[in-house]
């Protein structure tokens, strides 16, 4: 049984078609890495799956554990178990990090018909998860992402994931802008959350992250579609050779689709 089945997905942003027939199937427990040149549609995929305004799906379908994901509001997608770790987490002054996270968890639980957590039980849960992410509880007392360093923001994303316990986590270039220590910490956090019934889609520009989070599958996203799939060796090949070699196999791709430069 699949967890996520994307079939022939077409999506537009500001009138421009970015995804052009993307298909991908993810089973429970699997880790899929999606790589690709700039402008291939990597971030668009995450935003479409999370339901961001302005991303218009023109064709295709996304099935998430038997539900039509595209018919759900963003908050409903979260409640059924989809989590997007943002490439650029937003700073929200005036909203306390802990308050926000408890409101989020309880809103999800309420949607699923589960009992809401009181503040005692919530704090207990948070303390357990803090250990996993090696986050100082000082961050919890601050406003959401406000004044956080780049690394702190990304770790906060993974920490939120640990608390919310999604079924499917999409990491949108979580490694970008991280130094090697921060990268390792993020990877350790993700690895601690791997389980037979939790899947990951890791969107990344660099092979480096995959040294620490070992994927089951690696896909190349170019020209708005998955054009190549393989195991982790594919990532190494891309690291060594770039994307140009794909032109021979896929004559339909324009040069710009593989170099990431504007057409």
């Amino acid at each position: 049984m699949h967890m996520l089945k994307i079939d022939n997905l077409h999506a537009r942003v500001e009138g421009k078609e970015i995804l052009k027939g993307l298909s991908l199937t993810v089973k429970p427990g699997e880790v899929h890495a999606i790589m690709g040149p700039n402008g291939a549609g990597k971030s668009t995929l995450g935003n479409v799956l999370a339901g961001r305004d302005g991303y218009e799906v023109t064709a295709g379908s996304v099935d998430f554990a038997g539900r039509d994901l595209l018919a759900l509001e963003p908050e409903e997608r979260a409640a059924v178990g989809v989590f997007l770790a943002f490439q650029y987490p937003v700073e929200i002054p005036g909203v306390n990090n802990t308050y926000f996270l408890r409101a989020a968890l309880n809103a999800q639980r309420k949607f699923r018909g589960e009992e809401e957590l009181d503040s005692m039980r919530f704090l207990k849960l948070v303390r357990e998860k803090l250990k996993v992410m090696q986050i100082s509880d000082e961050l919890l007392h601050r406003a959401v992402n406000e004044g956080f360093s780049g690394g702190e923001k990304k770790r906060n994303e993974i920490f939120q994931m640990a608390v919310l316990e999604p079924k499917l986590a999409i990491l949108d270039e979580t490694d970008s802008g991280l130094d090697i220590d921060a990268l390792k910490q993020v990877a350790e956090g993700v690895n601690a959350l791997r389980s037979p019934d939790r899947s990951f889609v890791i969107v990344t520009h660099y092979q480096r992250l995959l040294d620490y989070i070992e994927p089951d599958f690696v896909h190349v996203l170019a020209g708005g579609r998955i054009v190549e799939s393989g195991d982790k060796d594919l990532a190494l090949k891309l690291e060594e050779q770039g994307y140009a070699w794909l032109a021979e196999k896929h004559p339909e791709l324009r040069k710009a689709d593989l170099t990431g430069e504007p057409a």
């Binding site: 908050e75 989590f83 943002f86 929200i92 005036g94 996270l101 999800q108 949607f111």
Partner: protein
Amino acid sequence: MTNAPSPFVRAALDAAAAVPATGIAWLDAARRENLEAFAADGLPEGRNEAWKYTPLRALAQRALALADRDAAGTLAVDAARIALPGVEGDRVVFVDGTYRADLSSATTTGIALLPLAGALAQNPEPLRFALANRYRHGAADAFAHLNAALAVDGLVLRVDDGVAIARPVHVVHVSSGAQADTAWHVRVLLDIGKAASVDVVEHYVTLGDAAQLGTVVTDIVVRENARLGLVVLQDASTATTLVRRSHARLDAGATATVHALELGGALVRHELQADVNGDGARFDSRGVFALSGRQHIDTQLEVRHQARDTASDALWRGIADGRSRGVFRGAIVVAEGADGTDASLSNKNLLLSGQAEIDTKPELEIYADEVKAAHGATIGQLDERSLFYLRSRGIPLAQARSLLTLAFCRAALESLPNDALREHLGDLLVAHLPTGPAAD
């Protein structure tokens, strides 16, 4: 040129005829002259700069009788309706402008809470300066004239020199909402003795649905090295018209902090003026006005620095939804010789609907040297990226909107005198915010 007086003015003159004389010559003369000025000038019109954004055409057509004082004196008021968390000190209650001894309680030593009539009977002289005011700005002062002529009841609050009052004093103005097209008027004097300290919570509530007008004119003196915390919670019904003027004088070393939360009312005007008269005095104001439906709330803040090394900080937030209209004018005047003044003013506004409107006007007039002054005003919308971020974590749209709106106001509410009151006002604000999708 004389226009025929409007129904509003004619009704006020009729009401004044029924107000008994006090027998205090200077007071009766002041009432008469203020009434004459009101009759001559009428209500301010659109070309009056101070009232430019708050049209009174509809009010001018209403003939308002004075609220029935006998009924107001006996109306049942549920104590739970006026109770406020964190405000458990002495209490003074007015119903439709009538002092209610039965609902009021004053047991704290070092502070006197007298109904105006009682204070006048005791010794009118100390009240003379405030009550003999003639208000010289013509129609712009129409409601001050009206209040001076018609307010027979009120409050005189005095804190003795050197006394710190621990528990906030609760001053409640209840509009009965019992009878449409009636008006009430209250006069308030706060006199904070030298080096004294007190928190006062001025609280507006409405019981029924009938459309009433209330006016409150407050004169505040914060004497040398004294401290006043004034919290205004305006939670009147959306049928209520409220016009208030609060003037504070700060002597040397005095500090006053005003917090205002304006939630209710159909048409609300608040003129908040501070004369920072003594060296080293400080006047801070924080306010939130949150409007929806067809509400109109107009805040006119004016801080005048008249002495050396004085400071003021004004931080106001406005939220307008539906077809509401918010008006904010914030003026800082630094007089000649008020060197070393440090003044700042910030007014940020959030438009939650395409049909709502906010007019904001920060003003700075500086006639002194060595002054630090900053002011700014913005009007914006909720940040779409922040909304999506919250929703992507499972927080429903309506909750995400109110979370961000409350966050927008947080800076204005965080310095309230105690946690219980701060939480309560935050809850009231959230309950008042729209929960549905944007109206536009």
